[in-house]
């Protein structure tokens, strides 16, 4: 089976090359190829039409090999979901756009509620305009939610500069509170601070991020911004231990024995909320975002713009992420003081030998969904 697939790949490549060589001008062969391709995609979509329930949909897409994810440490919730429905833990590597979903090569595509889902649904600049024709499968509803955007630093810097850490948390969470109460203004602030996306998409993102900050995995309302929910953190750690596969045996052993106390400390956030901290030991600090500047990180931009950081005696530099920038590495080697990452990424980094500490949990529920065409 494997061999024949490879032979097929080689044959196709050879055929493509020869047809490209021989038919520089004649277009007949290329129309042939496109017509066979469209007929094959039509047959596969009709087989999926019968399935309506989410479970059937997941099983069908997994059997077709058409479940998409970006990989690179974003895939663990998808693994947990596939395992739940008895499917092999495999996915198609999805690009950072939704073209694979659009052209049908991926039938269940990963999307963040605040980003890709908006692009798929809406028809503003960069959107695909599917509107109501898109269905979603929510990781929170499926019981496989893992917590995402947090706030972290190194254990060493938390011990050395506890007041800086507490002051930073206090001002940042004030920023998050304001941003969630005024998402439209927050979107504007982010857009003006050097946004990577259009102002329309920024406004959509702010409204969705607000939901992630104010609702937990069970759908209950949360009013304490940045609170580390014990049960949700434990579920994240348990799923991480199950689905993060590390080839380095030393790291794998460490992962197996990690407890919540190895990855987070709630005392900094608690003191920050009570505003019981002194003058910061270190006043010039920086925060590394997980991605490009966008409303996903609106709390920090708002805190900066509204002068909340200045009020607690901090001068904050917000550092853009994106592409292959590793926020865990940047914080661990001291390039920046604070970082935003997913809890699962912090767990694998600590298993690999880093000494990182989560000090706040900004998103209270998973923002990952699988999208499909209705």
């Amino acid at each position: 089976m494997r061999l024949s697939k490879k032979a097929l790949a080689v044959l196709i490549t050879a055929a493509m090359i020869t047809s490209a060589m021989s038919a520089c001008s004649s277009s007949s062969s290329s129309t042939d190829a496109s017509s066979t391709a469209s007929s094959s995609s039509a047959s596969s979509s009709s087989s999926a039409e019968g399935a309506t329930a989410d479970g059937d949909r997941i099983i069908a897409a997994a059997k077709d090999g058409k479940v998409g994810n970006w990989g690179l440490g974003n895939e663990y919730e998808i693994f947990a979901l596939l395992t739940k429905y008895g499917q092999e833990n495999k996915f198609i590597s999805q690009a950072f756009d939704m073209d694979g979903f659009d052209d049908g090569s991926i039938t269940l595509a990963s999307a963040m509620t605040y980003n890709e889902l908006g692009l798929v649904k809406n028809s503003y600049e960069g959107g695909y305009g599917y509107g109501d024709k898109v269905g979603i499968i929510d990781m929170n509803d499926e019981g496989v939610a893992m917590l995402e955007d947090n706030l972290f630093c190194t254990k060493e810097s938390a011990q050395k500069n506890p007041n800086t850490v507490k002051a930073f948390i206090a001002a940042s969470m004030k920023g998050w509170k304001y941003a969630c109460e005024n998402p439209e203004e927050a979107a504007k602030i982010v857009y003006e601070a050097g946004s990577s996306v259009s102002s329309d998409h920024q406004a959509y993102m702010a409204s969705e991020v607000k939901k992630l900050c104010e609702t937990d995995t069970k759908g209950n309302k949360v009013s304490d911004y940045g609170k580390m929910d014990e049960a949700a953190m434990q579920q994240t750690l348990d799923l991480a231990k199950k689905y993060i596969k590390l080839d380095d045996s030393a790291a794998a052993d460490k992962l197996k024995n990690l407890t919540l106390d190895d990855i987070r400390n709630t005392s900094y956030w608690e003191d920050a909320m009570k505003e019981s901290f002194d003058k910061p030991e270190k006043t010039d600090v920086s925060i590394q975002l997980k991605w490009l500047p966008q409303a996903q990180f609106m709390g920090y931009f708002v805190a900066n713009a509204k002068g909340y950081y200045k009020d607690v005696g901090l001068n904050v530099n917000i550092v853009s992420g994106g592409g292959d920038i590793g926020e865990t590495t940047a914080v661990n080697n001291g390039t920046v003081d604070f970082g935003v990452t997913w809890v699962s990424n912090l767990i694998s980094a600590n298993a690999g030998g880093m000494n990182l500490l989560e000090i706040s949990q900004v998103y209270q529920r998973s923002g990952l969904v699988l999208v499909y065409k209705k």
Partner: protein, 268 residues
């Protein structure tokens, strides 16, 4: 006689012993942590050689699976690219006016960065198969083919056209036809140039195979493993795959040099 032996021995010392000694010093400095002090880094970002070797020995099956996936792509792309590149060169040498223009276009493929080429080709080949692993392999082979094609066509063209004047005169004297001239003169004359091209395209085929894996839909290959592991902060494992990638590159190059020595020796 003895002086000749001495100089031979000296050159052997220079070409083999010195690099080996340098490598030994480097690895010792690395293992003892001296290198970390010099480069101002920690054993986390740059793990010790023993740690890297342990990971390789513990994961041989998985590593070999990824090695074969990368090697298949590199070798098939190299094969297709070299054959097509040579045919282009033959065409260009036969129809000089038309061919030189085409050759310029083909050689300009060399200037396209692989990171720009890869996503385009992967999108372009999405229709070739409903199975992601098949179409990913096709996409990766096409990328390597395009990259390898350029260096072969340019070098082979030189081999087919830059002929010794006396040989051409001889061919004319015998009244040889175009086909005979090609078979007896141009083809043999181009063989050293083929190896010149391969010296460029063998390492490039590996590099482009590894980079194309970054963008491929189907997750497999040494390059992809390097990226995955760096992003989840598993530097020791990433280094294990980096080391494996180096070994593949060096081994392929060594095989090429050996083949070149054998083939060209016969001609002398």
């Amino acid at each position: 006689m003895s002086a000749k032996m001495n100089s031979k021995r000296r050159s052997a010392v220079q070409s083999v012993l010195l690099p080996v000694a340098f490598g030994g010093v480097l690895i010792t400095a690395w293992q003892t942590g001296l290198l970390h002090k010099l480069l101002n880094t920690d054993e986390y970002v740059l793990p010790y050689p023993t740690r890297i070797l342990t990971i390789i020995s513990e994961n041989t099956d998985k590593i070999m699976e990824n090695v074969w996936a990368s090697l298949e792509v590199a070798l098939l792309g190299l094969l297709f690219g070299s054959v097509i590149g040579y045919l282009i060169a033959v065409f260009a040498a036969s129809f000089r006016k038309l061919g030189s223009g085409g050759l310029t276009i083909v050689s300009s493929f060399n200037a396209i960065p692989i990171v720009a080429l890869a996503p385009v080709i992967i999108n372009w080949t999405k229709d070739v198969s409903p199975q992601a692993d098949v179409r990913s392999m096709v996409a990766k082979i096409v990328i390597v083919t395009i990259v390898c094609m350029a260096s072969m066509s340019v070098n082979a063209y030189r081999g087919l056209t830059e002929l010794p004047a006396f040989s051409q005169d001889l061919m004319k004297t015998y009244g040889a036809g175009k086909l005979t001239e090609f078979r007896k003169l141009r083809l043999p004359n181009s063989i050293p140039y083929i190896f010149t091209a391969l010296r460029v395209s063998v390492p490039v085929s590996i590099i482009s195979a590894l980079v194309s894996e970054y963008f491929a839909e189907y997750v497999i290959g040494v390059g992809r493993q390097i990226r995955e592991n760096i992003l989840i902060a598993q530097y020791s494992t990433a280094w294990a795959y980096i080391l494996v990638a180096c070994v593949i590159g060096i081994a392929m190059y060594a095989i090429l040099i050996a083949a070149e020595a054998i083939v060209l020796k016969k001609r002398r």
